[in-house]
Symmetry: C2
Subunit: 413 residues, 2 copies
């Protein structure tokens, strides 16, 4: 069972049934899932949640599909680590890393796809499709396989090899488009009008988007049932950024945590920074950009939730950073060398942004800060492969080792 009641337009508040709909027929506003909040509050407790398996279905009352028949490949409940070394380096003693690389297909997209695929199957769809910068294609392909559905995943033709292989292995229909993500996204929006398929981020987007809020639930539970003071979140479409806060607010509404006063800050690559640019200019209207950055999973030049991201930055007294490609690579290495976490380029954006915001005084050293790492580094191996140190090449003898090692020790690191 689910406490979802209907879809509601975020702009004009018109209601719609829980179908494969995503845009208001009247005002073109986005549709969101509306729940029976009282029913949720009456049925959940910290204790029942804590007693359930370590995946996102432990929050079943807050989700828009039946958890008993859901597609569960183990998404969610990833580690939250107190990043003491990195925190020391950045002057943030209470810095935590939410490590979503430890998901079944090694990115946070397993959260949104778990929900979207489950709801799509409930609605009778046999094909699961998406426009993707790579991580989403991996997750859609994997969940469709587990669900016994067919997958059609549409990606730009310049993606990293790891992200392509990470879809192919599940045998979807893989479509490479000569164009960037925004072109791929437009194409899928058109196809959603003619094909009776569930496009996870088009016609079933209201359900899909709900997956991201589980990051808010998890962080609150893992901190001992409290909201963080400050979150730093990478912004691509902006959906993740706004849904994490939605999760915190819903937990408060259900009486599981106190009212959150969490500051929400964003992280973008300078090469695709429509939200950060608008924020820096003090504008609530972003201008679409043509992306040019190594952070391809964030390369959405015309973000669907860009406006709502700007609203949230303002409402929560957050800030939005933008960082260069060199800073991204440095951020990936800093995270790996201090905390043993190998993030993809988007994670480099997040860490470099935390650094930038801390240095600028936009993060208070006393705050409990959570930085969200959304995908695994092997997926974007190309971005760092050339900037890593060389190996010592030796024969299988102690003498050969000693010679190479002493030689290496003589060289300043």
């Amino acid at each position: 069972m689910t406490y979802a009641q209907n879809l509601r337009c975020r702009e004009c508040s018109r209601d719609y049934p829980l179908a494969a709909l995503h845009v208001c027929d009247f005002c073109f506003g986005p549709l969101e899932v509306l729940y029976d909040d009282d029913g949720i509050k009456a049925s959940v407790s910290r204790k029942t949640i804590a007693s359930r398996p370590a995946n996102l279905w432990r929050y079943r009352e807050f989700l828009p599909c039946d958890a008993d028949t859901a597609i569960n490949i183990g998404a969610g409940f990833t580690p939250l680590i107190h990043a003491k070394n990195l925190g020391k380096a950045l002057g943030l003693p209470n810095l935590y890393i939410k490590n979503d690389t430890a998901n079944p297909t090694w990115s946070f997209k397993d959260r949104v796809v778990a929900i979207a695929s489950s709801r799509a199957r409930e609605l009778g769809y046999e094909k699961l499709a998406c426009a993707s910068t790579g991580n989403l294609a991996n997750s859609v392909s994997a969940h469709a396989a587990a669900a016994g559905m067919e997958a059609v995943v549409v990606i730009p033709n310049d993606l990293e090899a790891g992200k392509v292989l990470g879809s192919s292995i599940y045998s979807p229909t893989l479509v490479k488009v000569a164009g960037n993500y925004d072109a791929v996204n437009r194409l899928c929006a058109e196809l959603a009008g003619t094909r009776n398929w569930a496009f996870v981020n088009v016609n079933v987007r209201p359900y899909y988007a709900e997956g991201s809020k589980t990051l808010g639930y998890e962080v609150a539970e893992q901190l001992g049932w409290r909201a963080p003071d400050h979150c730093v979140v990478p912004i691509a479409s902006g959906s993740l950024f706004v849904k994490i806060r939605k999760g915190l607010n819903e937990f408060a509404k259900a009486g599981l945590i106190d009212e959150p006063h969490t500051r929400m800050s964003g992280a973008q690559a300078t090469g695709c920074s429509p939200v950060a640019t608008a924020w820096a200019e003090g504008s609530m209207n972003f201008r679409p950009q043509r992306p040019d950055t190594i952070a391809k999973s964030l390369a959405i030049g015309n973000p669907a939730d860009g406006y709502y991201s700007l609203v949230q930055l303002k409402e929560t007294n957050g800030a939005c950073a933008s960082v260069s490609d060199d800073e991204i690579v440095a951020g990936m290495k800093l995270l790996a060398e201090t905390e043993g976490i190998f993030a993809e380029t988007a994670g480099g954006v997040t860490i470099a942004s935390v650094k930038q915001l801390a240095a600028a005084g936009r993060i208070d050293p006393d705050e409990l800060v959570v930085a969200f790492i959304t995908g695994a580094g092997f997926k974007t191996a190309e971005a760092v492969a050339d900037s890593l140190g060389p190996a010592l090449e030796i024969d299988a003898t102690v003498e050969s080792f000693e010679a190479a090692y002493e030689d290496r020790e003589g060289v300043p690191a």
Copy 2:
């Protein structure tokens, strides 16, 4: 605190202190950690364990180092999935997959290294070293980074690119040896005698080996506090294979589960199958082999726990499969296409072995079977890259999509 009392020789039962020792001075038998079993039993309960964070330190009473000061990057408590689709394909309705690809460095080695690195730091070591076929090097590099220790990782020079990069990112001293794993291992055994470093799988091996038993604890807890009927485990050194059963036995001794009657079966690649070959010949003495298989993480021709693995196969009425490189790739694809899990070559060995053992009647269809997937598929991308289907290449128009898709639909899959 810890309930570890001393080290004890598995052969002659002589006792040693909890130092960096791994071999008995008298009989050259392997040393194992001995615990205060009564103390453990008096202090643990299902409830206290279940109330703790979702990582392997939830089993702190059973581990040989102080969990409060341990190096925790989030290893353990990975998903256990009821593999209904794969089970149907193999005639095993109660087949489960323990998915250890969802670890911080995406293999089960995070378990053993979490323990070894924590104990090494307790013992005052500043450098963490290992001989590795790749996954271990990744995990040692990551844990050393988080621990503020230096890492020296020694690997064969023919490893997959993903496994090399997966170490380099953490900036260890990376040493590539012209030789196979057995040569690398011999070299590190020699170096352990002259360097005052903690070699995780040499001088601190007794602590290291304890990490694997957490897989037994987790599976039992995740099944609702019961042991599985049958486990299928890949055999490299054999340590994982014997320690999973040790975990189940310890849980029973502590009163957390009933006495296990778990059958333990092994999985090897035919190209490196010393245990499977001895088993097929009805011998308790394996002959070392020169490995030649794509399953490089299992390519240990002279396994340290080979004899104990054979003993366990006999004691538990298990069986040991060996599978070809083609079967390994087919196993990887089968797992991905049915359950949405992308395993490395070792996982292909496990799935192909489950298939072989089920077909031969060595696994009973009524048994609750757990197959252990120990590492993520992107680490061995080379093994499958050439055998995956091609993508459709299109322009960013509906017409281009329709043409390519209809064309594809006309072709039998």
